[in-house]
Amino acid sequence: MNKKQWMRVAIPIISIIISLLIASIIIIWIGEGSFTDRIDFLVEAYTQLIKGAFGNKTAVMNTIIKMTPLILTGLAVGFGFRAGVFNIGAEGQMAMGALTATIFAVNAASLPSFIAIPLTMIVGMLAGAVWAGIAGFLKATTGAHEVISTIMLNWIAYNITNWAVTGPFNAGGGIPKSPEIASSAKLPNLLTSQASFMSFGILIAITAAVVMYIILYKTSMGYEVKAVGFNPFAAEYGGINVSKNIIVTMAISGALAGLAGTLEATGLYYRFYGTLSSGKGFDGISIALIGQNNPFGILAASLLIGALRTGSNQMQFAGVPKHIVMIIQSIIIFLVAAERMVMTIMGWNKKKGAK
């Protein structure tokens, strides 16, 4: 591993440590009593956080359920970054994927599971791909910036999905939600514990990460994506079709986000709620950043954020507001984004004049 690759791993890890230290100071500060009391309070808070995330089978399942869509939206955004496109629209692509997949799955009762499940996923991925592909196409043909167009497409998706679950695709009962999907399209469970269950969606998400890794590092396609991302002029000079690569990258990115939505619908809720995504598309940006756009880094980052969020509920029982987890997460992202700051803190900023 050369120095640059080592930094890519070191910076997120150090950012995590620094953010935990800052959170510790806040927890000590809001604690009561003597200093040792406060230290006990801090230890208790972190103990509960870890217990809440990994303490028992249900906790582990909840962590995994939380991290599954994060992996996929993280991959979606990270893959786009590799080609130099900033897909801010994972939120909308996820919603469109979930809605389309649900519509298909509701009507898939006549199909056997081994056909219904993969077909539902393909439908969801296609919907996400088309939705993101629109932005890619506009960028490649007219130069419309993808940040603007994907944000706009988010709003369109938001309104289409809301309209669908309150209107033509409403299951009734006052809450905006779709009918339940056919049981043949439901993802089988990998683990169950008391009343909770966890589908094998996580395996699909991990597979997606492995596939993304192979595409990026082992194929000519990944080579082209990275060349376009680093230097589109040199890519064109090397005979690479830049427009095609931007459209394909956006479509793959959208397919991953669409898959995230599909797995939520077919593995967790068994239906589509208009508000399903609740920011997981945007979380993908943070995850991609912490994971440094590397598929395995994204897996690790999703585990971290998933665990923090699951554990925060338990931590709240210990008297620490769960918002502390938001602070931890924000500081990590802040430090990773401002990596120079971490390098300064660690004294890694080479004296000027270094080559």
Binding site: F230, A234, G353, K355
Partner: protein, 523 residues
């Protein structure tokens, strides 16, 4: 009289004395105990190959880097220069290789930038700025239009603005880092006049270059550097380009390439009435026709911005052709994509190395694969064949002497000369029928230039048709079999290197026909 090494009591007559300068970079010792003596009022050239440590040394004098050891004396007084502010305070000014000017602002605004005259309420006083700039420009005989926008003036004039900027800040010691790299022969001549005027006004000038005839033309003394050390200090009068070249490279070098006689073969590339627009969609190439045969080097001479780069891009498929046809090996490639054109057997050394010819973030191996990354032997069924990519890269890096020979290093970590060798290695390895070679030696040192020239001649020997676009007249004259001169998007005429002089070529580049150039040159 050999070069005089001053004693301590003489330092007061020296504008700059640098003693025992050591600068260590993570992997290289860039300056190894360097001594530099620059007498007040002289033009002192510092020459050396790329990576010899010239720019590093000057950047320390200007406060951009801090030395690890050694001391700097200005006019006999030892001072610490920690940043450019300190350097400016003691009267040092630097004109960088890449200009630091703001395009949409006027000449006057650029010159005063950072030290603007103000009026009431701290508002910018444009009138005073114009007046002061005019005054200083007349004082030193550096004519500029103070109201012209930087983006509208020529590179040579921009350089003049950079020089004025340093004078405006009261510089007595001017450092010019490779000032002629971007200039035409005529502009270079004008620069030399300016430098001599400045010298007459008592300024001290430090001139970094690797063009040895310029050293001979303009300097009083020369310091030669190689591998971070000083390998020669000599008064210009007592040396020659040959001796300087040997000191620079450390061995005998061929200053002029030897070209074997060769009969050109059949037509490979045929261009008919080609028209191309520039980035602003204005005509840049206005109907040119020519052809190139096997085993022939066709040189295109011209001042930058006369349509050569648009011609280069159009032939290689990077730019749309407005009209005309290009026939390559019997196939019409007028609307072909860069990949089609490469597949048909044309390779390309792009003028802009950083923008086009390489992905600096990629490793050397990945850069070698660029353009062939999708097919055998570099890829197999959509998957990269890393084993083959590495093996081929290793072989090419060795054959073309790319240093350091580490194929997993990011290309951005190579020096300019070695990056160019990497590009040449790749384009050579295409086994092309035709190669478009543009500014192949820009910014390279003698050793690398020699190597690239002999590589181009090897290609010619192997019956490749070569289009050589260059602003270096000497390069065009010594390599080409035929020369076309481009001016304002048109071809002014075709000549052969033995029937034309450099002066005549220079006049044709400024818009004369051969006959006009001949008669003007005779006068």
């Amino acid at each position: 009289m050999p070069f005089h090494i001053p004693q301590e009591e003489e330092y007061k007559d020296y504008a700059v004395v640098m003693k025992g300068i050591v600068k260590q970079f993570p992997k290289v010792l860039a300056n190894d105990n360097v001594d530099l003596y620059i007498k007040r009022g002289e033009i002192h050239a510092i020459v050396g190959e790329n990576g010899a440590g010239k720019s590093t040394l000057m950047n320390q004098l200007y406060g951009l880097y801090n030395a690890d050891a050694g001391k700097i004396l200005i006019n006999g007084k030892e001072i610490a220069i920690d940043n450019p502010k300190d350097a400016i305070a003691v009267g040092i000014g630097m004109v960088h290789q890449h200009f630091m000017l703001v395009g949409p602002l006027s000449v006057a605004e650029n010159i005063v930038l950072g030290d603007e005259p103000t009026k009431k309420f701290n508002l910018f006083d444009l009138k005073r700025a114009r007046r002061e700039v005019k005054k200083i420009s007349e004082e030193y005989g550096l004519k500029v239009d103070v109201d012209a926008k930087i983006e509208d003036i020529s590179v040579g004039t921009q350089q003049r603005v950079e020089i004025l900027k340093t004078l405006f800040r009261g510089a007595d010691i001017l450092i010019l880092d490779e000032p002629t790299a971007v200039l035409t022969p005529q502009e270079t001549e004008e620069l030399f006049v300016v430098l001599r005027n400045l010298q007459n006004d008592g300024k001290t000038i430090i001139f970094i270059t690797h063009k040895l005839n310029e050293v001979i033309a303009v300097s009083n003394n020369v310091t030669v550097m190689r591998g971070g050390k000083v390998t020669g200090q000599i008064p210009t009068k007592e040396t020659s380009t040959r001796e300087l070249a040997n000191m620079m490279v450390g061995r005998e070098v061929l200053l002029r390439v030897e070209k074997e006689k060769k009969e050109a073969g059949e037509k490979v590339l045929e261009v008919q009435d080609l028209k191309v627009n520039d980035n602003r969609d204005l005509p840049a190439v206005k109907g040119v026709s020519f052809d190139i045969r096997k085993g022939e080097i066709l040189g295109i001479a011209g001042v930058a911005g006369n349509g050569q780069s648009e011609l280069e891009d159009a032939l290689t498929g990077l730019r749309k052709k407005i009209a005309g046809t290009v026939t390559f090996n019997g196939v019409d490639i007028s609307t072909a994509t860069p990949r089609d054109i490469r597949e048909a057997g044309m390779s390309h050394i792009a003028a802009d190395r950083y923008k086009y010819a390489m992905v600096k973030e990629f490793t050397v191996a990945y850069n070698i694969a660029l353009g062939r990354h999708y097919k055998q032997p570099f890829a197999d069924g959509g998957f990269l064949n890393h084993r083959k990519i590495n093996a081929i890269s290793k072989e090419l890096v060795k054959k073309f002497d790319v240093r350091p020979p580490e194929i997993q290093l990011s290309a951005e970590n190579l020096s300019g000369g070695n990056q160019q060798k990497m590009v040449v290695a790749r384009e050579f390895d295409y086994n092309p029928l035709c190669m478009v070679v543009s500014q192949p030696t820009r910014g390279l040192d003698i050793g690398a230039i020699e190597f690239i020239h002999s590589t181009i001649l090897d290609l010619r020997q192997e019956d490749v048709a070569i289009l050589l676009i260059s602003m270096e007249l000497e390069e065009i004259l010594s390599l080409s079999d035929r020369i076309l001169v481009m001016y304002e998007g048109q071809i002014m005429g075709e000549v052969t290197p033995d029937e034309v002089t450099m002066e005549e070529l220079g006049l044709m580049m400024a818009g004369s026909t051969l006959e006009e150039a001949r008669s003007e040159a005779d006068e």
